[in-house]
């Protein structure tokens, strides 16, 4: 019923690789910044920023984005979901922004995140880094950096658990109860 996909060491390795890929691709390190989508992408963005700083010796600004108000299904969900604040303390205009999230699925969250970002400024470019890509896209969206491609059926649940929120680092596939 449950399959382990990544453990703590697996997640760490994946992020080291993504950090290298980001540095390899980018030219201007100064303008780099990370924006994590709440509620797990923000923690992943912090980790990635830590790795990038270790490699380059330069701090990378990190922000957290709450996309609740930009969801396209706000009028469909039963009651208004709780909104957390967006905390981006730097101006994203002119920067190379890397959006970080845990699971890429339908692509609707990323669509909402891009709308939210454009309300905050005009980035030089926007890229997407995800820990897991599980397929089943409903919008023309593709990640630039993927930790693990995970073919799943729509009925399955991909659970990402992190130390910061769940006390353990793991990615598992569960069958919907």
């Amino acid at each position: 019923m449950k399959a382990h996909v990544l453990d703590a060491e697996g997640i760490r390795k994946v992020f080291v690789r993504i950090a290298h890929e980001i540095l390899e691709k980018g030219q201007g390190q100064d303008a780099l910044c990370l924006v994590g989508i709440r509620s797990r992408g923000d923690h992943l963005a912090q980790r990635l920023a830590g790795l990038l700083q270790e490699m380059t010796g330069q701090p990378v600004p990190v922000g957290a984005l709450d996309i609740t108000l930009y969801r396209d299904d706000l009028s469909l969900v039963g009651s208004s979901p709780v909104v957390h604040s967006t905390e981006i303390s730097f101006d994203i205009t002119g920067r190379r922004v890397i959006v970080v999230d845990d699971v890429l699925f339908t692509g609707r969250t990323v669509r909402a995140a891009m709308d939210a970002l454009t309300d905050l400024g005009r980035p030089e470019s926007v890229e997407l880094a995800v820990l897991v890509d599980r397929g089943h896209r409903e919008l023309p969206i593709k990640a630039d950096y993927v930790g693990k491609n995970l073919p799943t059926s729509k009925e399955q649940l991909v659970q990402v658990r992190l130390q910061e929120t769940d006390g353990v680092d793991e990615v598992v596939i569960e069958e919907r109860p």
Partner: protein, 324 residues
């Protein structure tokens, strides 16, 4: 997970501690939006908010209007003087007509206590009370709770002093209910004619002497003294009121150094607050106004989530559009 389930926001008396905290937490999240260069999010895009102010109001009305606009809602405005109410239509008929135009949220201010509650029972759309008679002004109460928590870091255990015309003040009532539910100790102070002793039975402390109550306070909320009160013989004169209950620098010397001074506005300078106090470093009056927009955004957002432009009672399944 905390969820908002009420169709309407009519007063703070009915709300639970959890519901009050949910509203304040949401306001805190919404505050950041007003600090952005683009002060707008698409949360209520396509929804319509009707502002029905049957009693004059500038601040509250502007605050609701901006809150609705920053959530991308469309706005319909009615004023008492220009509406068909002067032609003899009842409030409920007016509300039903507005609802028939497919309005999602109706914000009502009226000088009669209980009008928003009566309208809420008669319509399917959400109703937000923007002040009714001397009953409640829930969004102003929430502004005060939010501002106190922001400035003091907590509400529980604080001594909050409300000074002035408690008898006629809807702000005082909303403040009282909210503060008591969140664990503050509330003292009501004013001339005996304007402080109903019955409030003691509800858990407030009543004091007629500001010099005794002020030194203990962590927060003081001064209320506006309506100019009519003298003609109605509640107070002998404004000068006497100011001498006994007006807060000036001299009286502030007896207070705690970290006391914050609040006022729901508009301030009668030189009556309930001296200009030096109203503009002084302990005053958070303008921050209350800023926070008002975030609080009203939270209120409009939460009540809008409980219905979908049709009649109220249609529970819809919540499809999992979220990425897990």
């Amino acid at each position: 997970m905390k969820k908002w389930t009420r169709k309407d926001l009519l007063g703070l008396e009915d709300l639970t501690r959890e519901e009050l905290l949910l509203l304040i937490d949401q306001a805190a999240a919404f505050k950041e939006i007003s600090l952005r260069p683009i002060k707008k999010v698409p949360a209520l895009r396509g929804r319509t908010v009707a502002l029905c102010f049957l009693e004059p109001s500038t601040r509250t009305r502007a605050s609701f209007e901006l809150a609705a606009k920053r959530l991308s809602a469309d706005i319909l405005s009615f004023q008492g003087s220009s509406s068909s109410l002067v032609k003899g239509e009842t409030v409920l008929d007016t509300a039903r007509n507005i609802e028939a135009m497919r309005v999602d949220v109706l914000v009502i201010r009226d000088n009669t206590s209980g009008v928003p509650a009566m309208v809420a029972r008669g319509v399917g759309c959400s109703v937000v009370n923007a002040g009714d008679g001397s009953h409640e002004h829930p969004t102003q109460g929430l502004v005060d709770l939010f501002t106190i928590r922001e400035k003091k870091g907590r509400i529980e255990g604080l001594n909050v002093l409300i000074v002035g015309d408690i008898l006629h003040s809807r702000v005082a009532r909303s403040d009282f209910w909210g503060l008591v539910k969140l664990g503050a100790r509330v003292t009501l102070c004013g001339p005996p004619t304007l402080v109903p002793p019955v409030m003691e039975t509800l858990g407030a402390k009543v004091s007629y002497r500001l010099e005794e109550a002020l030194p203990e306070a962590d927060v003081v909320i001064a209320l506006r003294l309506q100019l009519e009160r003298q003609q109605e013989r509640y107070i002998p004169s404004f000068r006497e009121y100011t001498k006994l209950y007006g807060i000036d620098l001299e009286k502030l010397k007896t207070a705690k150094p970290d006391l914050i001074v609040m006022h729901p506005g508009p301030v009668n300078r030189g009556v309930e607050l001296s200009p030096e106090v109203a503009d002084g470093p302990q005053s958070v009056i303008l921050e209350q106004v800023t926070n008002g927009i975030a609080v009203r955004m939270a209120a409009l957002y939460l009540v809008s989530g409980t219905h979908h432009g049709q009649t109220a009672e249609v529970p819809e399944p919540s499809p999992e559009g979220v990425e897990t």
